[in-house]
Structures are given as C-alpha cells and as structure tokens.
Amino acid sequence: MKWISLIPVVGVGVLLLFAAQDFPEWGDPQSPASQSPVASHFINNTGVDTEVPNMVTAVLADYRGFDTMFETVVVFIAGIAVLAILKGSGGRRRGTRRAYEVEAEPDIIVTHTVRLMVPVIQIFAFYVLAHGHVSPGGGFQGGVVMGASFILVALAWDLDHALVRMSLPRCMAIAAAGIIIYAGIGFLSMFLGGEFLDYAELEKVLPVSREMARYHAMLGVEIGVGFTVTSIMFALYANLSTEGRLKGGL
C-alpha cells in the first residue's frame, strides 16, 4: 500500500519541479512580486496613509483587514467546533482510571516558579500586542502568549485551578467579544459613512486626524483579535486534554 501511494506523490513532485525552472531566483529584486505596484505601494505609502512603522501590521489590520477578520472567525470556529464535537461524548468513565492515567501532586518547585513567571508572561503578552505597530508582533502573537500563560497555570497545578480563573463559558464570551470588537469597529466606520472597515471615518468621533484614526483603530482591532485567540487557545487546551469532560487531564 505504501509503495502504491508513492506514485501520485512522485507525480506531484515532478509537476512542481517542472514549474520551478521558471521561478525568479532567490532574492531577486526584479521579480514580479517585488516589483509589483501593489507591494511598492505598501512599502512606500504605509507611513503616509497610516503612520504605522510596521508595514506587516498595517497590511494585516488595515489594507487587508477583512481577511484578518475572517481569520479571527476561523479561530472562533475552531473553538466552537471542538466544543461541539467533544461535548457530552466523554461522559462514560469505564471503571475508575485507565492504565495511562496517574494521580500527581503539583510539585512545589514548579508551582512557585510558575507563580512568579505568569504575571511577567502576561505583561509580555500585552507588550507584544500593543507594540505590534512598531516591532514584529500584533494581536495573534500576543494572544497566543497570553493563552499560553493560562495553559502554564493548568500544567503546573491542575486544570481546575485554571478553570476557576477562566471557565469555559467565560472563554466563549470573551471570544465572541473579540469578534464583536473587530466587527464593531467595522460597523462604526460603515455607519459613519465609509465602507466596512474604513477606519479613516472614525476621525468623526475621535479627536485625531484621519491617519491617526487608522492607527488607533488598528490597535482596537488587534485587541479584539487578541481576546479571541487567548480564549480559544485555552479552550482548545482544556477540551482536548480532557476529552471534553473538563476533569483530570494532563
């Protein structure tokens, strides 16, 4: 069976290598992608249009902000779908405990170290989120670090410890709030007269110029993204490690 499956794989490989002869060289500054007017517009005009130094964040949150909204929706879908698939199905516990599950006490060194580290990690997560305008970072990255801090709490103690701080209904509510923030900024711009996600229209309610309105709206949008990613990361961990039961786990 494994040798038969090599045939389509090798076929695809030959096809891809056939195409590789036409590619531009590695790092060619004259390649069509690098010379394209759209990319040049992004590099030249990001500072002028949005006053954000990080071009990637500007393209992500402003020029192609609609894609990012659907990316956030994809994360939300993953959380809901995992809940939908695993909810109520792991109820029956055959016997007491399976062979690979052991009872473990939280270790004192680990708990004390984690107790010191988690606040620092969370502040770092806020920094990554907010500083995404100026350095590499942004909503997704900051959200993941924040979610990881909750997972660290769940690993060092047990899952109930983390669930007390971030229960699953609260996770879902925060995730929905993140999308509401993102779409809400879009709706606000639409009601103020522009298209959906046209942040410049927000200057009519905020006391800043059009460009700074984009700057601030981008930050708002990234905060929304961060909310959703944080809560869904933790919800995914909680559901996957306990097969939906939310008892026991890693």
Partner: protein
Amino acid sequence: MDNAIAWILLFPLIGSIACALLGMVNRKLCYPISVLSMVAATWASVETLFQAVASPTAEVSYIFGGWVLDLFPRGVGIEFRADLLGALIALVVVGVGLIVSMYAKLPVEKETPRKEALYYPLFLLQITGLAGIALTGDAFNLYVLIEVAALTGYGLIAIGSNRAAAATFNYLILGTIGASLYLLGVGYVYIKTGTLNMVGIQEVIATNGLHDSPTMQVAFVLIGLGILIKMAFFPFHAWLPNAYSSAPTTTSCLLAPLVTKVMIYVMIRMVLTVFGVEFSFESTLWSEFMPWLVVIAIVCAAVMALAQREIKKMLAYLIVAEVGYMVGGVWIYNYYGFIGSIFHIISDACMTLCLFLATGIILRACKTTHFDGLRGLFSKMPLTMIGFFVGGFSIIGLPPTCGFFSKWYLITGGMVAERWEYMVVLMFSTMIMVVLFFRLIERIHLAVSESGEDLGKGHGDLGLTKEQTTFEEAPLSMLIPLLLAASIVMIIGIYNQEVVDQIELFLAPFNLPKGTGH
C-alpha cells in the same frame, strides 16, 4: 443602499455571534435569531442582484477599507465583486440557507440535543463562508473563505454520531489537501504576476504574455486539482458519500446542495476571470481530455447510485454525477455548455435541497431511509412525497422543472461542440436516474422487499398496519420549507428564460465559441 454586498456576509456573522452568546443563556433563542439573520441576508442579496443588473458594467464592486486610489482603480485591498454570476450564486446560497434554517428547528432538537448554542453559530458561519466565496474578487481571500466553509462543515458533520466523526476525518484530510493545493497554486500565480486581485491577475497575464510560462501552467493544474478535490469530482469523491449520509439531517440539507456547487462556481471563476478564456482553453490541454474524465466520472457515479439501497447514499452518489455534468459543461468549451453549467448550478442546488429536505422528513417519520421502510408513504405523507418526487423528476429532467432546461442546454452544448461522448453519457445517465426514481416509486407501491420476498397477500396489499397508512403529515416547520423548495424548482423551470438572459449577459464579453470549438 451601497453596502448591501457587505451586509450579505455581515448579517449571518452577527447572527452567529448572537447565537453563540445568547444560546449559552437560553437555547430556544437560537432558532429565531438564525431565521431572522437569514431573512435579512436574503434581502441584502436580492438588493445586490438588482444593483448588479442595473449597473452599467453589470457588476457591483466594493473595496473593503475604502482603499480606492487613482493609481489602483481595482483597489489596493480586498475587493468584493458581484457581477451577475456572483450575485446569482450568492442569492442561491442565501436562499437555500433561509429555507434550511426554517426547517432546522425540529431536526436539530432531536438529533443534537442541548447543542443548539453550538450548532446554529456553525450553521450561520457556513452560510457566511459560502456566500463570501461567491462574491469575493481576491484570490487569497477566497482561500480564507474556503477554509471558513470547510471548518464549519467539519464541525457540522461531526457534531452527530461517532460514525460521522470517522467520516469527517477522511473529509478533513482530503479537504485540507485540496485547499492547500489551491493555496500553492495561488502562490505560483503570485510569484509570477505579483498581484492577488482576480481581474488584476488576468491583466498581468495578458500584458506580460505569460501564456506559455510553465509556472502558470502548473499553477492552473494545482488550482484545478485543489478545486476538483473539494467538489468531489471522481476519483476524488471518496469523502462525500460517507460524510453526507452519516451527517445530521439539517447538515446534509445545508451542505449537499451548496458546497459542491459553489466549488464549481469557483472553477468557472478561475477559468473565465482569473486565467482568462485564452489561457484556459487554448494554452492548456485540459479541454482535450477533461470531457473523457467527465464521462468516466458520470458513468461510475450513476452506476454506484444504482447499487445503493438507501436513499441518502443514493442521493450522495447522484451529487457526484451532477458535479460531473457541470464540470463537463465547462470543459467542452462552448457557449451553450457554459449556460447549461451555470444554470445547472442554480437548478441543482434547488432540486438537491428538495430531495434532502424530504429525506429528512422521511427519516424522522419512519426512523429509516432504507428502501424497505418506505412502503405506504404515499398514503401516509402525500405532500412530502410530492415534494420528493418534484425533486426527483427535476433530476431526471422532465419539463417544466428546472432540471429539464439545464440538461437541454448541456446537451445542446455537447452537440454543437461535437463532443459526442459527453452527449451520450448525459443521455445514458438520464436513463439510470429514471430507473432510480421509478424504482423508488415501485418500492413504495409494491409489495416486494429488497431481498425479493413477497409481502402481504397480493393485490397491492403491503402488509402494513392501519397506523402506517393513515394520513400523518410532517410537522409544519418541516413541511413548509419542503413545499417552498419544490415550488422554487417549478418556478425556476417556468421562468427559466429570465435567468438564462442574465447568464447570457454575463457570458457576453467572453466570446465563447457558439459553433464547433474543437
């Protein structure tokens, strides 16, 4: 309202977030919220269609973020372009979504109890994804929306039984291969053209003369392969029968009419708008051998449908055969073939919807969809069976249902393009479908079981209890959507000339051959 095209997606999005939040509080709120948001989205979609018809360039263009600049009339950001084809398909998607959301109340309560707050958000987000695929004008945004539709689809199917979870895993692996191949193809296009806007790509191909570039040819193959896997074209169809027959009722009513058809729309969009007619038909070899692959696909799918003893699996194989029709309609490179293909997308969505809605009602009433369990249904649920057989006759292609007209155009296209293999296989599969549906009528009326036993005492006695033959029609919330769908099938058939006029308006600038192409 200029923002109508954005509202088509935004209403279901708001609805799904509202369902997710309010559903945690009270489960009963989800159903009214979903129906309301679908009504609003249907209104926005009708509005967009009227705007597209009324506009001088026959399209509505909406740039998100307002990034219209003088140098870039097509915008620097993401564009939503609702030309006539896109607006029609979006209306079909949202309309089917509205009917299924009206239908969804009882099946969702019964088959996935206590999970409504998770089901309805996935449902509404699926419709958002599919409507977005129909409207977008940016190649990478299309990938993101395909993934939205796919992920919600996996969730909607696997929320049912364990069998559904196993089928979904297979679907996930194949679907991810398909979507990733599409992404790789878009990457190849980007590395050669430098833009992601669909119309922009065609302009760059034309100005830079990339017709013979091996990269673009391979990109076309990769995108085509990815889309073919996602639309369940034989032999990549392996995921479809298991996934759709083990899914919960409402899920199969939503996914079966829409997902594969929207992927065919994507193929038409890639062929006509992104790569252009010259590139797709003259620079590549696809139009030579695709009709033969289509012949094999339709024959195998129809024969496998004949072998089934259960309605849902039979309908799933019928979907694979219908996909074969539409792919063939595109690749015979003919004006009438394209009209037939596009009209078949619309009519197939409606008739598949009809069939699956009726199957759901039958499953609920008889607890089985096996052919043996259907005896006596004509006296028990006559209206449901009328709905079912309107869909069935449309698949066969009897006038005045819409299936007749779409088959008419497809056969005309095959004849005019002198692709006799396609025409013959269309007629052959029509015969098989006649056998399928009339066999079903026979089973319901006659007293012979599938394994050949005689039932009853002869003379039409089916050996049924009084309860099984008294009139007990389906509940209204399931019956009215079915009758609506059946009437839409008839209405589209009767008023087909209006729809075909719009399709012809859309196809006019492409200058497809009306006589022999090859």
